[in-house]
């Protein structure tokens, strides 16, 4: 099993963190993993994307141009990466701020209103965990218990009290996922 994922949005959305939690979770269940970030010099805004690979075999290139899954969190990223999903692959996006939705007919497309839901939960910072939940509903490649272990590894100890909220967000994402175009 090999899953090649790109997560893309703007700086500050938790794109890289989302990738890290996935990578740690993969490590916790004994897989080979790689996490390759790309971002500009700005601390907020700009573009941010990360390529995460989870595999049962040794990973060759951490840098790829075609993906099994694209998780897209803003319009700029959608414009850039929609075409990079392999035919038959998966595109998951948050429609908040999207004015030109994805057009391809040869991939699975799903959406999750994570921004809206995070605001409802009164916790905008766990927006990326809602996205994670939606992704795992579609591709359960990591067990929830390993997500918890991954969170323990990637969050500093002083934030461990937030883990239950993060897991709640993951479960929420699984619930509010919507199909846009299934093959």
């Amino acid at each position: 099993m090999t899953e090649e994922i790109i997560i893309a949005g703007f700086g500050g959305q938790g794109v890289l963190s989302l990738g890290k939690i996935l990578a740690y979770s993969g490590l916790m269940q004994g897989q080979e993993v790689s996490w390759m970030p790309s971002y500009g010099p700005e601390m907020r805004g700009g573009t941010a994307n990360v390529i995460v690979i989870l595999s049962d075999e040794r990973i060759s290139s951490p840098v790829l141009s075609q993906f099994d899954t694209a998780i897209i969190l803003n319009q700029q990223s959608l414009d850039k990466f929609e075409s990079s999903v392999k035919p038959g692959g998966l595109l998951l996006y948050d429609p908040n701020g999207i004015t030109r939705p994805p057009q391809r007919k040869d991939i699975h497309i799903y959406k999750v209103e994570a921004t809206t839901e995070a605001a409802k939960m009164g916790a905008t910072k766990i927006f990326n965990m809602i996205i994670l939940g939606a992704y795992l509903k579609l591709k359960p490649i990591v067990k929830l218990e390993n997500i918890e272990k991954g969170l323990e590894k990637s969050l500093p100890a002083r934030h461990h009290n937030l883990i239950p909220l993060n897991l709640q967000a993951v479960k929420k994402g699984m619930e509010i996922l919507e199909t846009v175009h299934a093959l």
């Binding site: 740690y24 790689s34 390759m36 060759s60 290139s61 951490p62 840098v63 790829l64 075609q66």
Partner: protein
Amino acid sequence: MKELMLMKGNEAFAEAAIRVGADAYFGYPITPQSEVMEYLMAEKPYERTGMVVLQSESELGAINMVYGAAACGKRALTSSSSPGISLMQEGISYIAGSELPCLILNVVRGGPGLGTIQPSQSDYFQATKGGGHGDYRLIVLAPSSVQEMFDFVSLGFELAFKYRNPVMMLSDGVIGQMMEKVELSEQQPRLTNQQIDELYPWATTGKKPGKDRRIITSLELDPSKQEKHNLKLQEKYRKIEASEVRYETLQCEDAEYLLVAFGSSARICQKAMDLGRAKGIKVGLLRPITLYPFPYAIVEQLSNQVKGILVVELNAGQMIEDVRIGSHDRIKVKHYGRFGGMIPSPVEVLDALEKQIIGD
């Protein structure tokens, strides 16, 4: 039980420095390697092993602090990225001229000049051919994984002290920034001052009664003596060239075409090779691990077997010159690269192989 962690290349390098018993790290921040010093500061190795971590006033300061520590027989290291490494060149020449051991990490970024913060491999010439002034060479190791960023610290110090020569790890912004699984080795103790005094009779460890003066310098005004010194250095480099070549070959046994790449471009080429093999193309990969001493012999050997070589590097064509020397220009050797921080995809590399080498 081996310790398994998910770490950035830069962090693995820093952790390795502590674990191999390094005595001192002197550095200065610059993207994309600032995590090295940030990690070292956060780990407080002074409390773990007594290792000193100090931010200098500049890269020039850092390399000279390394020079001073190395003169006392201490395991000293520094890290920087391209423009910072340029600032260190004078110091590196002094260290090499004085025959001192040390480890220098270059996490290469796009240039020239201030350039960009994105990855590149455009410092190959600087690392292997020149850099600083004078007739000296650096032993250059090119890691292509987070594990090698960890493992080469120990190897680097071993070679540095064996030959009394600075060693450079030539990494890049991909390897430095990416996270992968890494197995950590056990903590080695730092050498005591007495051990240093016994092991390294050249090191300045303090004048004691009955002990000769030890002098560390690269200055020799008498030209006949300076020539002798240079001949001695050259003898050393011949020994290094004869004994320390390291490389990896992948699927070369039946290869009709060859990719040659180091560091992160070698990882990309691995995927390109897999894609090529899936299409029925018999392509292999040669990954030099030591860029100096360069693996000319294996290049020569493979050039007698394959129909063409594509050298893939994130620069305008630097290592290709060494590949051409090794293959004696007997077969087609072409270059594929991206610059300024752009990174090619495996598909792009395979495309270049098909168009430039196979298709012709």
